[in-house]
Symmetry: C2
Amino acid sequence: MAICSAHTTTSLHSPCPTVSNTGFRQKQVIFFTSNRRSGRRHGGARTFQVSCSVEKPVVIGLAADSGCGKSTFMRRLTSVFGGAAEPPKGGNPDSNTLISDTTTVICLDDYHSLDRTGRKEKGVTALDPRANNFDLMYEQVKAIKEGQTIEKPIYNHVTGLLDPPEVITPPKIFVIEGLHPMFDERVRDLLDFSIYLDISDEVKFAWKIQRDMAERGHSLESIQASIEARKPDFDAFIDPQKQYADAVIEVLPTQLIPDDNEGKVLRVKLIMKEGVKHFNPVYLFDEGSSISWVPCGRKLTCSYPGIKFAYGPDTYFGHEVSVLEMDGQFDRLDELIYVESHLSNLSTKFYGEVTQQMLKHADFPGSNNGTGLFQTIVGLKIRDLYEQIVAERAGAPAETAKV
Amino acid sequence: MAICSAHTTTSLHSPCPTVSNTGFRQKQVIFFTSNRRSGRRHGGARTFQVSCSVEKPVVIGLAADSGCGKSTFMRRLTSVFGGAAEPPKGGNPDSNTLISDTTTVICLDDYHSLDRTGRKEKGVTALDPRANNFDLMYEQVKAIKEGQTIEKPIYNHVTGLLDPPEVITPPKIFVIEGLHPMFDERVRDLLDFSIYLDISDEVKFAWKIQRDMAERGHSLESIQASIEARKPDFDAFIDPQKQYADAVIEVLPTQLIPDDNEGKVLRVKLIMKEGVKHFNPVYLFDEGSSISWVPCGRKLTCSYPGIKFAYGPDTYFGHEVSVLEMDGQFDRLDELIYVESHLSNLSTKFYGEVTQQMLKHADFPGSNNGTGLFQTIVGLKIRDLYEQIVAERAGAPAETAKV
């Protein structure tokens, strides 16, 4: 443990050895206890972590309904850090985890306390807190945040069963994504930053029709019925979490096409909470005032229905927020670089980085509209937040040393 | 004439001697001929002017209905050049002319061919071209533009009679303001820049009620009748001139107060023609795109009903234009400097010059709204246009000398 001295915490590139390495692991793993396991050990690992602050991950929560683009978001996020996210090597092929150089993303479905049969028997949906083990979720997220390795359960989406756990070691950035990252107050308090993907009912319906009716041959009635069936629990347990989010990406029908209900052209809002440490909201032209902007004009020509941005201060569940909105979609690259050049506080490292990221993943869903743009921007803000936290931690011991 | 060599034309501060000086005057005066005078001489002066291009005034046309703020506009314009405009010294006390160091403003009512009695006898209004002498207007504006002194008639607004003429010498900037500066094609072609003050019927009515009913005790019916009586000729002869203007200041009722008809809070548009030589339209944030901006927010608080700006490309009588709009009014100085700092292409000489000008004349009508702001901005654009023209004239001989 001598290699883990104070000065190593100042470097991003020389982190302390992770607790997953060699013999340390056995002492520091927080076991998955609900799957017929009993061991839970906390003690020793905490002492170790006190001197290795750089290993403590920055923890991000991402809430959204199933099938609402969380995985695309995660791929955009890990790309911002320069890596690609992949499932754990050599593990359960049905693992829901994605790992890149910097980031580990776990799916909170893994904390289902009831499997598919169990839920059916008790008559609860996966959205219901009673089908989820928040105690374990809290303990394991807390352990990871403290730099400890965990053994996390796996909910197998194929079989609907709980599979044997997988080992998760603390990454630089730990993302918990799923239905309930901000539901439990204890888990919520562990988050350094939280995001809620808010897809409006109209868009959700249009997307579901596109997928389930056009591609899978479901009837309109059955789609409507399945949405209606989910709605009470969604409204009761998922939707209220958005009030806690530091950033909300809200996806709405376009207002550029009258009475549009195709859900192809989207109006997307990025709602950014003010006063969040290490997070400076993006703005358009003039911080704190209200702007609407149609970039299409003399310098930029856009095809129908064009593009419209809006920006301004607002309140959201009683919080001061700044809202950036994009309605419409990009035709070509030059539109995006043009837009990027007029946005401020993007936390890019060079001119055009947003455009570069979007181009790199032009095949991802939403790359031509506000969902892709705002996911990319949030990715950059998370990188910035991470770097600020690391710098702050690195600075703290030095400050102390002076005294 | 040896003092009038090419190099003197390059300096704004060392102009050639004006034709009003000493013995030259008698040879170059273009006489007022309609008031029982007969002499009209053109020849000699032109030869003189070829080598003294700096003396040829820049000619500006300002069209508007009577009582629509032309004189305030003129006071703002002359102030931009650093001087105050006053009636000619020792002349007719009822002269309509204003003279400052740089600028001479004449009122085109002086070219009425019919006095008040004459108009009454023939049943024509002052708006009717038949009551105006466009031949003389053309000849005299042309003469001034060529650097010649004129003897211009005076229409006495107090007596309604044509008074003996006054001598007008060519200034640096010659402004013709009145009902018909762009009516006659020959006069129009002499203008280096033209402005139309377009007061909407609703605002005109509200203003007239304020002045004639509240202050002069006229009845609402008589006010309505007088507006109605003027309208056909106004629509036929005055209003169509706006299509020729390089800049139009359009004054409309506010849209910030639902169903407002008081005419106190105004929405003002500055319509700027594209492609006009020496005139670069002002823009807000992003040239050529469409913007709306409510500056009131986190940095700026505004009292009801607030302030709203809009900017964007448009067409106006088939011409490409850029339109800047301000709805609402300023509460305090800091609002104006805040707005100024976000406008581009203002042609100011230092940061805050618009605000300084507006503050200097805070007692002028419209100083808290878009009329004063846009009049000031147009004043700055005219100064810029003037300086560009002078620089161009100064540059031309030098270019020739190289060949």
